[in-house]
């Protein structure tokens, strides 16, 4: 039972090689995107003979691409705000109240994650048709809310479970109402998780394709546009350039979210001696 732990690095050459191979297969394909976005050619083929930034300059000359980007940002904003709000309410209910059917509610909210998106998209399309709601960006956003809420809830439940509930009791004890306790104590303490949830759900919505495909009206989101451009290879390089920009922005966002999480977690800061 009490075997001494092996020190990593002594007899673990094999595992190190495995780890690097794993990382290579995971991320090397991603590097193809920025690589070809700087290649002065329209065919994806090595070796790359000449590098240029002309595809980046061409981004601005593709209004329909920028329009799709703008649509995606709008949908992502609506979906992430709505999903985070719903997730917050669900997390509050699940972590703070004793209620019948709690486990069932938790399961039902998480269910969209496990239903094949094709079926989900089809079902939503039929319902919208029956009720007579015209397809638009807002129908895509509504579908995304369904998909994003479980993510928001998971992030927020973890945070709300993690903090000392006597903090909320202390606020009530000091005379504050339930509503103001939420704003004066609970919200400031879960704020990093709220930001996390906003970023996560935004990204889920931003790159979602299937639901958007079923629920689109006249307007396209960026994934739909990119998919459409596959038929025209000569049009494609500027898409790569835009993709690279988005990749960089996503990385920056994740780093920012992580930094915010660490700054916002009480107790993680180095202790200052008294």
């Amino acid at each position: 039972m009490s075997r001494p732990l092996k020190k990593v690095g002594e007899r673990s050459v094999g595992i190190t090689i495995f780890a690097f191979a794993y990382l290579f297969f995971l991320y090397a394909p991603m590097l193809v995107l920025p690589l070809f976005s700087f290649a002065d050619q329209t065919i994806f083929r090595f070796p790359i003979e000449k590098f240029s930034t002309k595809w980046y300059e061409e981004i601005v000359e593709r209004p329909e691409m920028l329009r799709a980007l703008w649509n995606s940002l709008q949908v992502g904003l609506v979906a992430s705000l709505s999903a985070t709000l719903l997730g917050l309410l669900a997390a509050k209910a699940i972590t703070r109240y004793a209620m019948p059917g709690k486990t069932l509610a938790l399961g039902l909210i998480s269910l969209p994650l496990f239903i094949p998106e094709v079926l989900l998209g089809l079902a939503l399309l039929i319902i919208l048709n029956v009720v007579g709601i015209p397809l638009s960006l807002m129908t895509i956003a509504a579908g995304h809310v369904m998909l994003c809420t479980p993510f928001a809830m998971a992030v927020l439940v973890a945070r709300m479970d993690g903090f000392d509930k006597s903090l909320e009791e202390a606020s009530l004890d000091l005379g504050e109402s339930g509503w103001m306790t939420f704003w004066r104590v609970t919200f400031p303490l879960i704020a990093p998780a709220v930001v996390s949830s906003l970023l996560l759900t935004f990204i889920v919505s931003f790159d979602e394709f299937l639901l958007a495909f079923f629920l689109q009206g006249n307007e396209m989101t960026l994934p739909l546009y990119i998919w459409g451009q596959l038929r025209f290879p000569s049009n494609f390089p500027p898409v790569l350039a835009l993709g690279t920009c988005i990749l960089v922005a996503s990385c920056a966002l994740v780093v920012f979210a992580e930094w915010l999480r660490q700054v916002g977690t009480p107790g993680d800061k180095p202790q200052v001696g008294v």
């Binding site: 009791e169 004890d173 000091l174 005379g175 107790g267």
Partner: protein, 367 residues
Amino acid sequence: MTTDYIRVEHVTKRFGSFRAVDDADFGIRQGEFFSLLGPSGCGKTTLLRMIAGFEFPTEGEIYIDGQPVTGVPANKRPTNMVFQSYAIFPHLNVYDNIAYGLRKQRLPKAELDKRVQDALAMIKLSGFEDRKSDQMSGGQRQRIALARALVNRPKVLLLDEPLGALDKKLREQMQFELRQLQKTVGITFIFVTHDQEEALSLSDRIAVMQKGQVLQIASPRELYESPNCREVADFIGTMNFLKGLVKAIDGKTAVVDVEGLGLVNAPLPEDYSFAPVGAEVLVGARPEKLDVVRGAPHPGEKGVKGDIGACAYLGDRNHYQVTIEGLGHQLMVATEQGDRSTLASFSPGEQVTVSWGDNSLVLLPKT
């Protein structure tokens, strides 16, 4: 009972079929330092939380200063609490923590500032306004929690094992400070603890609880010297329990035939209805009220012969286990170690006399 500042009237709290608090019925006086003492799970914290307004009784009523508060939520009660974890708001600095309750009351800025500064001075933390809670030590956080509660001038301060997280030295110092503070502010304190020494040294009165029931409410001295049942005697300090049979009642004493000791005269407690002639009872004797001697017992005392079993040297006193003929278990005796000589001590196997005075015996109901 018009003098009671807080009334807990036949309060029962059930969680499902479990009775966390079972028919608690008592009063607490104004300005009193009142402790709820018992092992974990005895219902003391549940009772405190019902007085605070975080839990509500299944049956019974609670009154504070004459007002029924049974169904009133915590934020509408004239009570404030010091939590076991202190519950210092981690996103606020010391000043804003203490001002939390006052901000809700929308006090004028100058008065708010004065009261916070006074509170900071009271807990000797002036100048620490801008610190966050993770920059404060355990003892400091505890004092901030105290100030944050007291600054609202509650009618009752509730303390849920506030010293439990501190180390021994600091705990003893804080006990002293707490007692001083209570004397200064004159507010009624209700203090929950499982530490009997803490309860004894701090309280005016203590309610001893077990399995949801209040066993006895009395001053520390009364609890120690005149417990009303085996459980209280066992929980507060150490006691030898001997089986006996009441032979006669003679004025204020009962003549009891005790296993191993023979006939003893035990003083009768206030309520001795459990001990009519012919009843089986328990006779309790604290180890330090007994003595071990060579030869005859102390003058005016009774004695019984026995053999020393195990010995333990504890510096300021010695503990002996003495085997006595006719007694099913060993008798525990604690003697003071008054000087540095080894003459006063005994060795295992030595034949001795255990000496006791009748007044040191306690008559208890057989359980």
